[in-house]
Assembly symmetry: C2
Homo-oligomer: 418 residues x 2
């Protein structure tokens, strides 16, 4: 599909060369084939949504408030929705003023606009290693350098984070942002521990680095105790991104940023030049849904659905994965991160997996610089538990095929019996 002959080739901005098709996105087209069980995409399952209720709600909205819903809104977003968003954030312990919220086209646009506000070409954004694919695309499109910092099972390593900040400051270009997904991290599923949150905040505070906290999954917890977002402890040092894409519906494209007042003022200007305003219709739809429906009960149902899929995935991994493989055990969100022993290569193995009827995302997309060939991301959010199980079984068979010629001399009985 790529056109080679482009008469405007010499006219593009420097950044445009850095906008390259994501290998993850390209994979989604393949994964959408009906014979494939996709453990690749991070699409929520909207099948459980009460579409009849939504239909009535939007129809009522257009009938009674059509003139407002169909007109331009303000760049900052609908005031009533901004109040509702503060109610939603309060569930996780974030106290916020609706004046400091900016409504965006999903939290993706908020990520893009915050990057626009802070990142000059050549500036460095620090992220976890690995991190969200399309965040890397946003940083690349702004010609940012990205420094990735290792994680353990409690989240990013504070010592390594501190060293990275110090190294960048010593080079005369202090980190502009620390981008983090502390809760049910994409792609690893790891949740930063309470103690680690305080340590990380302290490291950022000392280095005077602004934190960009992305929290699309926070309310999708299936067990364990809820942890307060970083923003709850550090309102002046964190820009918080939230979204209704995972808890309600991505098709409404409603997300938000909560920012310190001075940053928020600039964010509104950036939003205005980027799109004038987000859709009042979809904003009012979300607001009406939150104000008239038992959405917290709906959220409990949603969590029940995803919990059973996560459980199916973890059971299937235990049952089918060959020894030597390891994986994370997420308490919420959409993802499990699998690590394989040398010399398996998850990128090279993908074709065989697709041929065997299962898709996953190779680890390389989540890192800068080609790392991640021994890792892969599995999503349990979209397929039924039965499909999750079958998908993991197919994947394990592919792994075993790739493994056998390598490990044959040391073949382990427990494997051969499967």
């Amino acid at each position: 599909m790529h056109t080679t002959d482009d008469p405007w080739q010499s006219r593009y901005a420097t950044r445009t060369a850095l906008m390259v098709p994501s290998e993850v996105r390209a994979l989604f087209a393949v994964a959408a084939r009906p014979e494939i069980i996709s453990l690749a995409g991070g699409m929520p399952d909207v099948g459980a949504l009460p579409t009849g209720v939504m239909a009535d709600l939007v129809a009522a909205l257009l009938t009674t408030h059509g003139k407002t819903a169909l007109q331009y809104g303000t760049a900052q977003g609908d005031p009533s929705l901004r109040e509702s968003i503060c109610e939603v954030m309060s569930l996780e312990g974030v106290a916020a003023d609706p004046d400091d919220v900016v409504v965006t086209v999903g939290s993706q646009q908020a990520l893009d606009l915050v990057t626009r506000l802070f990142v000059d070409p050549g500036d460095t954004v620090v992220t976890e290693a690995p991190t969200y694919v399309t965040a890397l695309a946003v940083f690349a499109a702004h010609q940012a350098r990205v420094a990735q910092v290792e994680m353990d099972e409690e989240g990013v390593l504070p010592g390594a984070l501190s060293e990275t900040f110090a190294r960048l400051a010593a080079q005369g270009r202090p980190a502009k942002l620390f981008y983090t997904i502390p809760t049910f991290h994409n792609p690893t599923g790891i949740t930063m521990s309470a103690r680690r949150r305080q340590e990380v905040l302290e490291v950022c505070r000392r280095a005077r680095v602004l934190v960009l906290e992305d929290n699309p999954y926070g309310l999708l917890r299936y067990d364990g105790e809820s942890l307060r977002p970083l923003r709850a402890s550090a309102p002046d040092e964190v820009i918080y991104l939230g979204s209704f894409s995972k808890t309600l519906a991505p098709g409404l494209r409603v997300g938000w940023a909560l920012a310190p007042p001075a940053v928020r003022e600039k964010l509104v200007l950036a939003a205005e030049s980027a799109m004038l305003s987000q859709s009042p219709l979809t904003q009012m739809t979300v607001d009406r849904y939150l104000r008239t429906q038992l959405w917290q009960a709906q959220l409990v149902e949603t969590c029940t659905m995803y919990r059973s899929r996560r459980d199916a995935m973890l059971r299937a991994l235990e049952r089918y994965m060959p020894p030597g493989a390891s994986w994370t055990v997420p308490q919420g969100g959409f993802f499990v991160w699998v690590s394989l022993p040398e010399p398996l290569d998850t990128k090279a193995m993908l074709d065989a997996a697709v041929a065997a009827g299962v898709a996953y995302v190779p680890g390389t997309g989540f890192y800068t610089g080609g790392r991640g060939r021994r890792e892969l991301r599995l999503s349990f959010c979209y397929p039924t538990p039965e499909h999750v199980t079958e998908g993991v079984r197919r994947l394990a068979a592919v792994l075993q095929d790739a493994w056998e010629p390598l490990s044959a001399p040391h073949r382990i009985p427990v494997l051969s019996s499967r």
Copy 2:
């Protein structure tokens, strides 16, 4: 509202200092007061829209296609809508392939993304003098220089345009884009003549400058013969921006770019990192509306409504404006551009106008570099014909008050009789 104490002041990107609140937007808050007749805003009147029909349509859509409408879409946009968009463009003589259309959050986002693709800091974008306020904000946010080229009643002057391109090329930084609103121009209401269109295209072709044609008003013609967009004659040399904001409803935030294939590929990548996808719900709503409703008949009604407002404005200008004032006579769109004789100052006069119960936009917002103090933009799109007439009457009274002390010695009888 501006916070002075910003601990992150030193961390912003260079471009952020160039994002400043628009004086036009600030004015809209004032103009929204009920006692003010606003001839300032360019908001379409959505009051005539069949909101009941829209309500039924969205409800049916959610009931039958809820899973698709509420899920993520593709970055390029809904395929069925892209077909419908090509039908809409064909009304103006543009032949296009749905594959070359990218759906955006209004055409504003398309403008932002195209600028992102082509403009490095310090690059020059050429525009008409004057031009659309928020296009200037977009160019500023991308650290572009803007060179504005004079217009006459047939549109931008080809000789001056050619000279500007030559001057920029001689400086070693050829113009990256020529941004133009050829039909019912914002703010002047001028329509580029057929002959001028060919001359302008030829000038751009010779200079190898890509044309960015913004056409939100093209289908809102009240008299005269329809002219084909620039894109119709030069598919490889024009990026065309369209919108449903003026012909249907801005609250759906559906616009588009039509671009040569190689540019379109990059535009899709830019859209993906900027927002993942536009809302399938609002896209499918527009598509369903176009496919099931007599939208061309609705468009005729819309034009009838706006024509009567334009006529009211032109009649009121004839009746009330003091001699020495001149104005454009638009064949469509939303705007009339008024020029006043020296030494009247439309920016200085605005407070008095608001005190007299009428708002307009001073000319300065549409130029770079402080020009435009003798000019102002009047919008006839939103108020009723009666309000348009009364608004112009109030404005004329303010002009006369400002004028009288200046012109008293030469006072013209016809003025004193009003």
